[in-house]
Amino acid sequence: MTTLLSGLHRLTLWFCAALAVAIIGALSVQIVSRYVFNAPVHMTDDIAEISLIWMTFLGAALVYREGGHIGLDLLDTLTRPALRRWLRIVLHLLVVAVLAYVITQVRQLYPLMSRLEFGTVPKGPLTSKFVLILLPFGIGAGMTILFALEAVWTELRGAPAEADT
């Protein structure tokens, strides 16, 4: 299971890197098309924004698995190890709960958002606002749930959490 999740982790990381490259590419095309050819391409701003959104929500899931999200760490030095472990488990489960709630809402928004368009991007079933903006939020939430459950499982088995990339 952990191997599988590590594979997912690695794959998503490279996908996010590709999105960062897409941002660079899109904005470069915008500058060059405007100043070298005086014929700006309009989709580039949208492509860059969409790439940013996907990169953020998928990337946030990866950062969750790596324990890299910003937070306070006051209790690390204060409490007993066993108590800290249970605290960590509770917090992971809290994240699972709130993200599961988010996923139900993403589904609720499908009927509306799947009918809406985004900026100057060509129309199509794969370019609805649902696919471009809500889906990454939902997928990121789903991946984070998996990673949180993995972390709970690791805590319960008593092994230190694996931190590979």
Binding site: Y35, A48, H69, I70, L94, V95
Partner: protein, 429 residues
């Protein structure tokens, strides 16, 4: 009652160690359910929270910083800066501040400074033997000059809200921005002189050393020139400028150091992690901001205090206090939208100039960006420097005092703000 639960839950979860982004998400969800607000807003607002073109500058300036590190460009810049000021007490601390002043002149975003330039500065200061917490503190404090010194996205938004001349606002920000830079350098000098911080010092560089370092750093030193030139000549917008920096660094890095695929890939992956962590907080804070708006929390607070005003000085002091408190809990632009209407009303009843008010607001609100619990610059520096919040905020303490002093000076001496606009862009009346 629900407000009390809101605050208790937020701080409770934060102290227990839940990351900021998830603390905001959980607190928002619980509050929405308790207060009977429309539930779907949680996902609707958070998913749309980063739908903004100007945020693209965050990953790009982060990548620029990572690439400069990975491709050896940073070392050359700091070698050059070193030969210039390494003999002055506080050495690279001052360089850090001056670099941010130059950076602020081409960027309107403090997060871009902290994330891009900041990673360069912290790495170089650490390599030079400065403590990580001091390096991070100077970086965080100096990054706040970004939106004070023109150009400034924040002042453009204020100008829109207050229907005030953006040109006058930009000119108004110049002197207060330089004043904060000066104040930070004074603090650095005092900290080092009193022995609270150590700033490794080297003997003054020889002329030959200076020339060599200058020559090696020249391609990098040209970056701001190309950037500023490009922006001023209208070749690209400030957001697009961030991409140009990335491309330029790729080119000069490859020429001088060779096209190292591994280093570039590592810079890219590091950028993905840092920007995702930062942007995820911004996305989630949109829900948070919506809740605070819909409950009219800051306005209630201001309304209560409005009854206490007796004099102009008291009014200004209260405005500063409100801005400091709200700035701690909210992102700057969201807070502007909430507070500016009330502040304008107060300002007009006490005969406070709107340009003066705008610059005072921005100078004061910037302090909140480097304080917990909600401080984007603080979080960015924490991520970039890999440092804990407690350690960083303790090192920032003297800088908070300096910045509050500058805010008070700017608030009570309108001439600091209004000198340049009145000189160069006088109004009709």
């Amino acid at each position: 009652m629900t407000t009390a639960i809101f605050l208790a839950l937020f701080f409770g979860l934060l102290i227990l160690g839940l990351p900021v982004a998830y603390t905001m998400l959980v607190t928002s969800a619980v509050y929405i359910l308790l207060a009977g607000l429309p539930e779907i807003q949680l996902t609707l607002r958070a998913s749309g929270g980063i739908e903004s073109f100007s945020l693209l500058a965050i990953p790009m300036f982060l990548l620029a910083g990572n690439l400069m590190n990975g491709m050896g460009v940073t070392e050359r810049i700091f070698a050059f800066a070193g030969v210039l000021v390494r003999h002055i007490t506080g050495g690279l601390g001052h360089v850090n501040v001056v670099a941010s002043i130059l950076f602020a002149g081409m960027s309107g975003s403090a997060v871009a400074d902290a994330g891009g330039l900041g990673s360069v500065e912290i790495r170089a200061m650490e390599q030079a033997g400065y403590s990580r917490r001091f390096s991070a503190a100077v970086t965080a404090a100096s990054a706040t000059m970004g939106p004070i010194i023109p150009p400034s996205i924040t002042l453009v938004v204020y100008g829109f809200l207050a229907e005030e001349s953006v040109g006058r606002l930009f000119l108004g920000g110049a002197l207060p921005g330089l004043l904060s830079g000066f104040a930070l350098m004074v603090i650095i000098y005092l900290l080092v002189v009193t022995g609270r911080e150590t700033a490794p010092r080297l003997p003054r560089a020889s002329f030959a050393e200076v020339v060599t370092a200058f020559w090696r750093a020249l391609p990098a030193l040209m970056a701001p020139v190309i950037l500023l030139g490009g922006i001023l000549a209208g070749v690209f917008t400030p957001t697009e400028a961030s991409v140009v920096v990335v491309l330029y660094i790729l080119v000069i890095g490859s020429i001088s150091m060779g096209f190292d695929r591994r280093q570039i890939a590592e810079a890219l992956l590091g950028t993905v992690r840092t920007s995702a962590a930062t942007l995820f907080i911004i996305a989630v804070s949109a829900v948070f901001g919506w809740i605070i708006s819909i409950q009219r929390l800051p306005l209630e607070m201001v309304g209560l205090m409005q009854d206490l005003f007796v004099s102009k000085a008291a009014a200004i002091a209260l405005i500063i206090v409100i801005l400091l408190i709200v700035g701690m809990f909210m992102e700057v632009l969201a807070a502007l939208v909430l507070l500016v209407p009330t502040l304008l009303a107060i300002a007009s009843s006490f005969d406070i100039d709107t340009v003066h008010l705008g610059v005072t607001v921005v100078v004061t609100m910037m302090i909140g960006t480097i304080t917990p619990p909600v401080g984007l610059v603080l979080y960015t520096v924490m991520t970039v420097a890999d440092i804990r919040m407690g350690e960083l905020t303790r090192s920032l303490a003297p800088f908070y005092l300096a910045m509050i002093a500058v805010a008070l000076l700017v608030a009570f001496v309108p001439q600091i703000t209004l000198f340049l606009p009145d000189l160069l862009m006088p109004t009709a009346q």
